[in-house]
């Protein structure tokens, strides 16, 4: 499978990149790791006349630990994120999810920015970031804006981004809770290297007294046109003690299933996807509750 000819551009700064984007508008696509884009170009699904390589932009692959937030540059690769101590400690669910993307070779080139901008409903980095209330920074040649990631995805393969805009960085707020825990589970057709059929991220925290659950967040991929939160399911578990929450998990799982609108496709039926959401919400919730309340799971 050949790639159709195109004109190649490269930039060393964001500013330079944004100027090039502004000039070529809809004629140009940006390429980061290329693991989604080159595939689409080989399959002739996307045929850009111009390509702008982002990989030579200096210093956009950082993970910065700041007092109240963690900042991840759009070009950070999954292998770097998954093994980074700050992410493993502060955003375990994201380390887990990025560590499950593709194979080692894919994680060494594929970027978190590419994963989000490609906007697959099953993109593995999306549910963890939704559950952690992450923000994204979008830049164009005039200014930068900061948005909740929940507003970023607009449908399968589409986002808020205009052709002359770049995703610059992802911001994960740090919570002030004394104790928090989170987990990610994904179902694939094959073991190992595959896109998620369903992905579930579960996050929870302990309140001041250390006795009740708060800030429960459940996010799911592969079960709706975009990655989504399960707000009703979260409410079912909020403010409960360990014993009450554990009993309530099956009800929360049902509420999470109710929030999905999965499709039947070649990879799985809608019914199967719903069943898996039910199972995975129960499993991730149990795991997180056991960690939070120091129980042996």
């Amino acid at each position: 499978m050949r790639i159709r000819p195109f004109e190649y551009h490269t930039a060393e700064t964001i500013k330079e990149a944004l100027t090039i984007l502004e000039k070529y508008g809809t004629e140009i696509k940006v390429i980061a790791g290329g693991t989604d884009l080159l595939l689409a170009m080989k399959q002739k699904k996307i045929l850009p006349h111009h390509l702008l390589n982002l990989l030579e932009i200096n210093d956009l692959d950082y993970i910065n630990d700041e007092p109240s937030e963690i900042r991840i540059g759009a070009l950070a690769k999954h292998s770097y994120i998954a093994s980074h101590p700050i992410i493993r400690n502060e955003a375990t669910v994201l380390a887990e999810a990025t560590g499950m993307i593709g194979s080692w070779q894919i994680r060494n080139v594929a970027t978190i920015g590419g994963n989000l901008c490609n906007a697959s409903p099953a993109a593995d980095s999306a549910p963890p970031l939704l559950a952690l209330n992450a923000k994204i920074v979008i830049a164009d040649s005039k200014n930068e804006k900061n948005l909740p990631i929940s507003s970023f995805f607009t449908g399968p393969g589409t986002t808020l981004l205009e052709p002359d805009q770049l995703l610059k960085e992802i911001i994960i707020p740090k919570t002030k809770s004394r104790r928090k825990a989170n987990a990610y589970l994904k179902l694939t057709r094959r073991r190992g290297v595959d896109l998620a059929l369903v992905g579930v991220a579960f996050h929870g925290e302990l309140d001041e007294s250390g006795e009740k659950l708060k800030n429960v967040a459940i996010a799911m991929g592969g079960v709706a046109p975009t990655p989504i939160r399960a707000l009703e399911a979260e409410a079912e578990l909020t403010d409960l003690s360990y014993e009450k929450a554990i009993k309530k998990i099956p009800i929360a799982a049902k509420a999470a299933v109710a929030a999905t609108q999965p499709i039947t496709d070649i990879r799985a039926t809608a019914e199967y996807r719903k069943d898996i959401v039910d199972v995975y919400v129960r499993r991730t919730a149990t795991k997180v509750l056991n960690i939070l309340f120091n129980k042996d799971g």
């Binding site: 499978m1 050949r2 790639i3 159709r4 000819p5 195109f6 004109e7 190649y8 490269t10 390429i31 290329g34 693991t35 080159l38 595939l39 080989k42 390509l51 390589n53 990989l55 030579e56 292998s79 593709g102 194979s103 080692w104 070779q105 894919i106 060494n108 080139v109 190992g192 290297v193």
Partner: protein, 155 residues
């Protein structure tokens, strides 16, 4: 329009001019004649095109040659320069090669693993080579071969 590209392959520096739509795999196999690296699916799935880019295993069919500008590439030919690498010997001795199509990619991934983690356990080996498909061996002998090199590098 061709674009200049500077790339080091197996220790040798090349200053080339190349069309932007060529992948790193096209460059290696067709322009440099290094056909040890195999082209299987061309879609990032099978791992037969695995090479090391600045020491990290990558799938060369899904990277533009120009995106490797200024970088160092190691292919199976560079690994076996002069005398075979211990991994190559182990693959032969343990019967980890049947048709051999997956072998160069498999060995490059294994090499990167052993560079990072000289004493990997079975699970770590299996996770590392999860992106390298083999239709022939059933993987057991491949894991064995990699493991035998881990042991033989022990001091």
């Amino acid at each position: 329009m061709k674009i200049p590209l500077t790339i080091t392959v197996n220790g040798e520096r090349y200053d080339l001019e190349i069309k932007p739509n060529r992948t790193l795999l096209d460059l290696l196999r067709e322009d440099l004649g290094l056909t040890g690296t195999k082209k299987g699916c061309g879609l990032g799935e099978c791992g037969s095109c695995t090479v090391l880019l600045d020491g990290e295993p990558v799938k060369s069919c899904l990277i533009l040659a120009l995106q490797a500008n200024g970088k160092e590439v190691l292919t199976i030919e560079g690994l076996g320069k002069g005398k075979p690498d211990p991994l190559q010997i182990a693959f032969v001795e343990k019967g980890a090669v049947q048709c051999g199509f997956c072998t160069p990619g498999m060995i490059m991934t294994a090499k990167a693993l052993l560079n990072k983690n000289p004493q990997p356990n079975d699970l770590e080996i299996k996770e590392a080579i999860a992106g390298n498909l083999c239709r022939c061996t059933g993987y057991n002998k491949i894991v064995e071969a990699i493991k035998s090199c881990a042991a033989s590098t022990k001091r």
